[in-house]
Each structure stands twice: as C-alpha cells, then as structure tokens.
Amino acid sequence: MSTPKGSVLVVGGGIAGVQAALDLADSGFYVHLVEKSAAIGGSMSQLDKTFPTNDCSACILSPKLVECGRHLNINLLTLSEVLSIDGEPGSFKVKVRQNPRYVDVDKCIACGNCAEKCPKKVPNEFDLGLGTRKAIYLRYPQAVPLKYAIDPEHCIYLKKPGRCGFCEKECPAGAINFKDTPREHDIEVGSVILALGFKPFDPSRLDFTGYGQFKNVVTSMEFERLLSPSGPCLGHMERPSDHQEPRKIAWLQCVGSRDINKACHGYCSSVCCMYAIKQAVIAREHSESGDVDATIFFMDMRTHGKGFEAYYDRAREEGINFHRARVHTVLPAGNDNLKLRFTGEDGKLREDEFELVVLSVGLETDPQVMRLAHQLGIHLDSDSFAETTCFQPVETSRKGIFVCGALAEPKDIPQSVMEASAAALEAERILYPARWTETRKKEFPPERDVHAEPPRIGVFVCSCGINIASVVDVQAVTDYAWTLPGVVLAQNNLFTCSQDTINQMADIIKKENLNRVVVASCTPRTHEPLFQETLREAGINKFLFEMANIRDQDSWVHQNDPEAATIKAMDLVRMAVAKVRGDDPLPYNSVTVTKSALVIGAGVAGMTAALSLADQGFPVTLVERKDRLGGHGRKFFRTWQGQEIQPYLEELVDMVESNEKIDVCLGSTIQEVSGSVGQFKTRLSNGKEIEHGVAIVAVGAESYKPREGRWNFLYGKNPAVHTLLELDQKFIKGEIDAKNLNQAVFIHCVGSRVPERPYCSRVCCTHAIDQAIHLKETNPEMDIFMLYRDIRTYGKREHLYQKARALGIIFIRYDLDNIPRVTEENGRLRIEVKDPIIDADVTLHPDLLVLASAVRPRDDVGELSKLFKCAMSSDGFLLEAHMKLRPVDFATDGVYLAGLCHYPKPVEETIAQAKAAASRAGLVLSRDAVPAESITAVVNLQKCTGCSVCTKVCAYHAVNMDPNTGKAAVDTGLCKGCGACVAGCRSDAITLKNLGNEQIMAAVEAAMDDIQAGQGL
C-alpha cells in the first residue's frame, strides 16, 4: 500500500466521536468531524447528571467539546451528513453535504438578539419538545460551536422571502445570510470512524405505556431535560400537566428493551437500570418539598458496571423503592395522576397511583443511520446495530471503517469513550506512516513582557447556568471584584467556559491590556488548562492566572446559606486576586520522550496493547510474572458469541513472540520505578533496567475460589462442584461427558454482590448461561437449573438468556435471605432452594454443580499501583483518572490501564480497553517531547546556608549541593514542584515559582480581611 493519508473522518459528534477525534488529532492526524445537528455534544449534552459519580454532565463534557471546537487539527463540519465513501483503507474519498446554517459562523457573536426578536416559536428538539425555541436558535447554552442557526423548516423569511427578516435587522454583526446554500465537500481520508450513536426508543408505539395519551407519562430522556438546570423548567422539577412538582414518581424499566413481542427489541439496553436509579436519586435531591416517593419497576436490576452496585445499594438505603414487576397497564387517575397495574412477585395483581411516570426507554439505531450504513456497505446485525466480533470489537464489516459507541451495541459513556480510543487506535495502526503529514501546529502569538507593568487584573465570575448563581449572588461578587486592588475589569458570565465567553475573554485581555486573569467558577482541576490556553492566545503567559473555586467548594456545599456562600465567594475572589498579583510569567518546560513502552502483564489485554503499539513501530517491553504468555485467558472456553478463545490466544502469542519490536520478559516483576511521563526508568526483578516513555498496566485479576464460608457449597469437598473456569477447562480438554449428566445446577453471584465483595462481577451471568446452553445443546435431556439473583446479560447477550429459556433451562431466583442450601447424601449433592414464584422449596439432585464465582482483584496490585503512584478503588481494583471520561488513564501522566485489573469484563471489552490504552499511550509516544513542570523550585543563593535539608527531603533527587558554591541547586528537569524542600528550608532560601511563601501567604492574609457588613451585598 502506498503511503496512506494522514487524516481521518469521524462521523458523529457525540462523546464517542469527540473522543476519537481528540485522540487522533493529538497523536498526529488531521480529523474531519461530521455532525448532522448544529452543534456537537450528542446525547450526553442532554443529560443532567451522570452515574455513578453524579457529575454534572455538561460540566465534565464541556471542556472536551471546547477543546474539540478549538482544536487546530479538527475540522468541525456541523449540519453535515456523509453521502458516500469510496476507496479502501489508507485512502478513502468521502462526499459530505453541509446544509446551510444561514448564519455566518465567523461573524456570529452569539449575543442572542436574533432569537429574541424572532417571532417564530417552535418546539425545541433538544428538550424533546418539552420546551420551545425560536426558528433561529442555539442547540443548547454551551453548544460548540456557539453559533446560532436558522431552521429552514420554520423560518418565515426562508418560506416566504420578503416577510419577517427581523433577525437580519437585529444582528449587530451582520451574520445572517439568507442566501446560504448547501455545500458539498470532497474529503480524502485514510480511515473512517462511525460514532453515530443511538436514538431513544419511541414508546408511542407501545399503547400500554399511555405515552402520548397522558401528559404525565414521559420518557427518561424527557425527564433528564426536566431535571436539567438548562432544561425547560430550569431544574425545578415539574410535571408537564400542571407544572407542579411531582411527589410520587414511577420508573418503568425495559421500555423498548428485552421485549420481542411489542417492541421487537430482544436486546437489553444496558444503561436504563442505572440511569433510572440515578434519576430517582437526583429527583429527590432536586425536589423542593424534599419528600419524593420514587419507585422503580424492573425485571432484573442490571448494575453490572464499576461502582454501580454500590450506587444501587445506596439508593435503597436512601429509601428508593424497587419493585420487581413488569407494569402491564398505565391508566389515567384523578388530577392528571396515573394508575399503574402490575403483578407483584407473589403473583397477585396490584395497583398504585403516581403523579408522574417515567419510561426508561431503550436505545435503538436511528433509521437514517441504518440507511447510511446500507449506503456505506456496513453490515448491521439483527438488532440493527453495527456488526462486530468479540475479537475485533471496533471493526465493521468494511475494512478501514471502524465503529464505536452505541452504534455497535447499547452501552454507557465510559464504554463508548473506551471504544472511541480503540477505534482511533485501529485507524492509527493503518495510518501511522503518515503521522504529522497533514496536521498543523498551534502557533501562539509572542507573549507580552509584563514584568515592568503594574498588575492589570481581569476577573470573570461564572454563573455556571444556575449551578453557582442560584446560591451565590454573582452580581454582588462581580461588583466586589471591581473594588479589589489591581483589578481593572470584572464581569459575570452565564458559562465562562463556553466557546464565546472564552473567545471574548481573549479579546478583552488584548483590548484592556490585562496582564493577570482570575476566573471565579468551578475547580481548576478540570478547567484551568482551558483558561490558561486562552491567556496564551491573548499573548499572556498562562501562569498569570488563578481560579476561585466558587462552585464545587462554595455554591454546591452551602446551598442553604446563600449569604454566607456569597461572602465566601468574595473572600475566594479576593484571595485569588491577591495570589495572582504576585504571580510571575514562567517558562514552558518540556521532557524529551523515550519512544518506547512498558506493558505489564501478558494476558489478552497486555498482549493486545503491546501489539497495538509495536505495529506502529514503537518498541515495547512486555513483562509477565508467569513463565508463559496468555494469562487469565488460558482458562476460557469461548466468547458469548461462540468463538473459541484458545486458538485466538495462540495466534496472539505467536504474533507477540514473532514481533521483533516486542521484548518479552517472562517470570519477572517490577521492582522499582522512577521518572515520569516521557522518561520512566524501571528495574525488573531480573535486574534489567528499562527506559520507557509510557507504561500500560494490564496485570489482570483472579477468580474467587470459595474454599470456605457461606459460599462454599462443598466446593473442593465434592468432586461434582466446579467453578465456571474449571468447567471451561473441562470443555477445552473435552473432559466433560454431558451425555451422562442428568441434572446440572448453576449458582450465580458466588462471592459477588455481598458485603465482603459488594460489586457485581459483570461476566458470570453471560458465562454461566452460555455454558448451560452448551451443555443443553450437547444433551437436550439434561435438566439445568440456574439459581440467580438478577440475570445480567446486558446488551446483545440478552439473546443468550432468551435462547436458554427457549431451550427449557430453568431459572430460579434467590436472594441473600435464602441462599441455596447445598448438602451431601452419601456423595450425592442435594440442593434446596426457595422458588419465589411458586413460593415453595425446591430440592435438586444435580450431578454437576457450577459456581459462578466472583472475579477478584489480585492482592499484589496494591504494591504495583504504589510504584506508579496510581490510586485504587475500595474494591481493590485500579482506579482510573475519571470514571466517566478517562476510563483508561491513571491520574499519573503516562500510565494507563487495561483489562481485569480495572474491573471484571468480558474478552471483547478487554480487547477494546487494551487498544484504547494503546491509543492513549500513542498520544505521548507520537511526540518528541511532552510538556514538563514549569512550577519548579528555585534557590536564593544569598539566603541558602547549604545545610542540605532540601536535598534530603526531595523524593526526586532534583535538589543537590553544588560543590562550587556549597549551596543547593535544582535540576528543573527532575523537579516536580511538590515543595517539600520549601517547607523544609528554615532560611526561606528555596521557593517554588508562583507557589512561594509570598504568593501563598498573600492569599491567606487576604482571606482574613473580612468584608464589612453590607459591602458589595
């Protein structure tokens, strides 16, 4: 193949598309991002909060969107759709149609005058029609790009030229262009990623839900908007009929999922259980009355993700009701309430009345997307999701075209983000020779030298929609900021992080000659980089910036004390101003990258990651503590889709062993790690010293063996008792003679979802059912009983569950109050279990008992995480940097994780995560240098006594005694800016740039100057 193109087409501007675009653009490829609506953000931008962390969806998404919108190597094509794709991997020709916006994006300043004057009200699809917008509109307040668009369907002028045209008259920027026409772009790319997402199931075809007939029956997506501060009722939860706050709410699960009869969707939508719980929790938080009765009607509670089960437990403690029942009728009741009819677990018919009913609708593929897929020659499966395999989780049926996110199968945000990175990786694998060939480099204007200038500080106070403004009097804070010394400008913004405010900020800095900036909004931990880059664009050194955290650490934690919160906000602003006044411009340091990787653990995850990097030409050291490759994977029989795992594993092993870029170190472990991103030094147990730029941790997990305790079930005592993996071994070796088995029993959740191991092991339900099917298919005569708590065959795996039932496998539910009792009668197993449906004890005499035992973290994972300074979750699995949006990164730069050490997951997810980790690692390896610490220690030779305390307390050996001067000297390359030396020094002779005693104490002393009563208030 001739050198491929250095650019990639990403279709779909949801979180998956955005992540893929950012990964690619940051590792040397030019990206065309095609979005059919007027703004990127996708479904995630419509959500209020996200589970399980209750992060504000917009808050965590916004920085990524803005980054994407500002990215030099991402070409944003909104209001666009792909018409055709020709060619093959390495060089595709793409036709894209971009529909007219009728607003010149270069001119629009998003002031909103146009929309204000526009006479045409239309239902707002972003609020799913619950609210209205104008014919000229913004998709949502933080939209990227933050540019208005005219909706040709409803614009009076466009329909009858000559009429209306108010917007054109009103626009101060002259941005309106009624003559705008569709444009066609011919784009050449090397690869394509489809991230077209999903569409919420439309329940109006299910008459029993009453949706469309009764106002107070809403879909879950509609309810998200009702909860959202930027939604139709500004976060004051109201029900549609009378705009009163509902005090009794019901959620109906599996609407449009797990329903072959009416909805024709056999699959499980994976996310509904969690978002329903989340909505119930948030609804109670939001409610002004404070007493919302929330009930969730479900079949199986599917909280199979990281931190999900704990979230479920907490919801129950908080008093949210969970009813295991499928509601079959929704009837009208007095004053717009609704009567629900359902059968209780006892089989008796029940009725209950609710003020609002939320339908937890499933995820399905948009018919338009189906059509597009057809045009592009992408196969969809029976559920109309893009067809992939367990071993190639992000490859479509067409070579060079990859898929990620909900288009391949319903999934949650972290899973989508993971796949997005994986898809990016696959594209890079094809296109790596063309890295940096089509990208442009960010050029910042030269920085103004502000040394001699007196401080000219600008203060930007953010309302964060209502997140801050609903508690803190932001206007008062802004007025107060004006009075602070050095402040020459203070203003209040609705969303300081929104694209237009950011741009405006840059203009103001130039116009007002600001040389210091303070933003009072959320936490610097997420937003500082964004604002700092804005300073650079305005020609100001980015370290002349401070943030006052008046949201996470003020408005959100003092919701009931607005006055105190406002005074605190003023204090925080005053502190930030005092601090920034003393800040100096700092140099931008960088560290040259050792372009090789260390991968720890040679299981499926480790080997996949290693190959993914080696294939791009990066040398990899693959360390495995055992003396053979393969890891946990050696124990598995087949994927849920039926592909045998061992042959695949052998293939993988061969590829690794034959790849000369990969140096395999068997039987060795990590002894010592030093350095940091770009320049790690690691010593192995075999004495080997390795220099590497990045590290991927893929050390796997192990399966729980219930040797004693209440989950023992005679395991290890009676030969007929096995774990899932042991049975797999028998399948692999063909040691099991199904023909001669009369009865098999599987017990689920052995050691999972229990106090000592409160998480769900995610894989066991599917695994067990697949084994049961395998047995039943080899011996249809066999009776098979599944003793379970909730069946969690999420996504397409649900089909296995249906198949199992169809094959006559019997499912009996148990709960922690009556765990099956397993005993022995002269060597023969005897199991008693209570069947809740018939409400009677059942006795079984299996000649095979299989325990679906938990996946547990390895005990030695702790030391390893310490070596790399990574965090661990309370469950003992490794903790990623952010549960939602950084699922494979550690908080420590340059270290990534993949596979079971992160959380239990099936092989297809392990592979995807491994490729994602490789993609993230590529961000570092693809560059010659990564930015290094600018905030480093400096020695004041006049004050230094050479006592060497600093050298002793420095963990990085960054401070040493200079034999010539006999005083301390700092190696800025090694210094991490922790300040241990500063605090250790009695002579104030060593300090941190911009974090010296002077700057810090300036803030402290400022904090103590109380605002006189009434001042600014």
């Binding site: 009075t483 602070l484 010394p485 005053r574 006049q942 100057d1009 109380d1010 006189q1012 600014g1016």
Partner: protein, 338 residues
C-alpha cells in the same frame, strides 16, 4: 522634703494626670521599668535598672502613621496620623546618667516630632546615686551621680524619705503640688551634702574624655590593631545597643493586616549584619569587626566630633550584660593609648 508616706501620697495625687513608672523588681529579681501601682516606690538598689529610659522616648514600636488597606474604601492607602494618644507619663527613680542620655539623644533628634512629643509627655523625677557600682563610669563621660541634666526634679534619698530639688519649671510646679511637706532636719541636710560630696568619689576619677578623644586622629583610631581581637568574641547580638540609653538607631517597616496598615519605627542595632545591607546586596559592614568598631567609633569619636559630648553616659549596662564581656572602658583605654 517628703517622707516616704508623703512621697507615696504625692504619687497617688499625680496618678490622676500621669501614668507612673519606676524601677521595680520582677519575680526573677531583675529590676526594670514598670508601671508603679498605688503605694509602690521606686526600687533604690544601687545601679541602673536593666533597660534604659529610652523606652519612654523611643517606644518599641513607635507608630509613625496609619492607613486603611481595605480595597474599595474611599480612604484606602491614604496615610493619616496615628490615633493612639496616651496619658502623660511620670517616671520616678531615674538615675542621672539615664536622664542625661535624653539630652544627648535630643541632639541628633532635634527635628524629630515624635521624639519631642514624647519628651513633652514624659516627666522625669531623678534619684541621686549614693554610690556608683563597679560598672558605673558616668564621671568619665561628663556626667555625675547627682547630675540634673534632663531631669525635671532630682530626689535625694535620705533616711526618712526624699529631698526634692526642682530642675525645670514643670518640675517646680509639680513640687508645688506636693504641698509644704515636712521641713528637712539638719541631719537630713547633712545627709544630702554627704551624697553630693561622697557619691562622685565612689566612681572612677573624672576625666575630660570627649576633648581628648576628639583630638585623636580618626584614621589612627579606625586602624588601631585591637579591633580584631576585640571583635573575635562578639556574637553580634543587640544586647549592648538595646540596653544602651544612647543607642537610638531604628528601622522602619509597614505592616498591613486585615485591611489595616501602619508604618512603625522600631529599634535596630548596628551589630546586626542587615543593619547596613544595601538593596544591591552589597554590605559596607559585612564583617563583624567592622560593626564592632563602628559602634564604639560612633559613640566615642564620630558623635563627639559632630555634637561635642560622647554618645555615652557611663551607665555601664553594656558592660554588665554583654554575654561575652566586651567592656567599653577597656575600649576607651585602648583608644586613649593609641
């Protein structure tokens, strides 16, 4: 003449218009300047109190001006006179040497409003010395154990009480206010005479030091060899300067705090390296020997050349409390020998 009881009553009277201070022993037996409570008389032990009376004329600190450092307020950062006015002070039991120091300090502080304000506010009632101590040498410096320079009233301690000798008008009117008191008996007048005649003889012989040192060549003294060894033992603490009644050097600093600010003047010492450290980092008196030399040269040579008298009253505090026993009397002898 007032007997002890009468003197007490008098102080009780004066307590109405003055804060009254005097030498008083603390729980560690150290005599220093403290407020005298009703019925307390000044400690009469021979010798001077620990600290000198400069604390009444150079308070530690002296607030020079105040300002608001609170942003937004209209008067922010605009300095104004300090508000703190305190009651006039009456200091009793002042030894003549201490009193004389005020006169000497007034020379360089001629134009200093703060010094003068304090002087107007402080009345000094002296206590004549019956005899000097081993560390006293006022007689070398032009002073006398019964000198009245700088005092408003000099009190002679006699067995029954005190014989008061008004020195200034202000002193006189105060003595008036004491009422007739009781007439001094012949015996008491004899006592008084004895003090006048004997006290000086208990001290080193008077010598006209100032003129003799003025005659010496400045550079000869400056380059004298003994400075090095003398300074070897010095630890550069400020004891001598801070206890010395005629060390008047100060530093000025602005303090801001919770929206308030003030500019204060506080004692500094030429013994500290930072005393002469320039912003440039250069220090003309970087080495200890230069600082030690400067202190003595200032008192015994530069000051006399500028103002006439020595900048030393021979109270002997520096001799008594120097931790390494540097003795200005030996320095004087070395200089005279040069």
């Amino acid at each position: 003449m007032l007997d002890k009881a009468g003197f007490e009553d008098w102080l009780r009277e004066l307590a109405g218009q003055f804060e009254i201070f005097g030498p008083k022993a603390n729980d560690r037996g150290i005599v220093n300047w403290q407020k005298l409570n009703e019925g307390e008389l000044p400690d009469e032990r021979p010798g001077v109190p620990k600290g000198s009376i400069k604390t009444f004329f150079f308070p530690q600190p002296e607030t020079l001006l105040e300002f608001s450092a609170r942003p937004g307020t209209e008067d922010a950062f605009i300095p104004h006179e300090p508000g703190t006015e305190h009651k006039p002070r009456l200091v009793v039991g002042v030894r003549p040497c201490d009193a004389r120091s005020v006169v000497l300090n007034a020379m360089p502080y001629e134009d200093d409003p703060y010094f003068h304000k304090n002087r107007q506010n402080v009345v000094l009632i002296g206590l004549a010395c019956r005899q000097g101590c081993s560390t006293c040498f006022c007689t070398w410096t032009g002073g006398s154990p019964v000198g009245t320079e700088g005092l408003d009233i000099l009190a002679y301690p006699v067995s029954r009480g005190y014989v008061l000798e008004p020195v200034t008008e202000r002193g006189a009117s105060l003595v008036e206010s004491a009422g007739p008191g009781n007439d001094a008996t012949g015996a008491e007048l004899k006592e008084l005479e004895e003090i006048r005649s004997k006290a000086p003889s208990s001290l080193p012989e008077t010598m006209e030091l100032a003129p003799r040192l003025r005659e010496k060549g400045l550079m000869d003294l400056y380059n004298a060899p003994f400075w090095q060894q003398l300074s070897d033992s010095c630890i550069n603490c400020g004891t001598c300067t801070f206890l010395c009644p005629t060390c008047y050097c100060f530093d000025i600093q602005d303090e801001t705090l919770r929206g308030k600010g003030r500019r204060i003047r506080y004692w500094d010492s030429c013994m500290f390296p930072l005393f002469t450290l320039h912003a440039s980092g250069h220090n003309p008196r970087g080495e200890k020997v230069k600082r030690v030399r400067n202190r003595f040269m200032h008192k015994l040579k530069y000051f006399p050349e500028r103002f006439g008298p020595l900048s030393c009253v021979g109270c002997g505090r520096c001799v008594r409390d120097c931790p390494v026993n540097i003795d200005i009397r030996q320095v004087i002898n070395e200089l005279l020998a040069t």
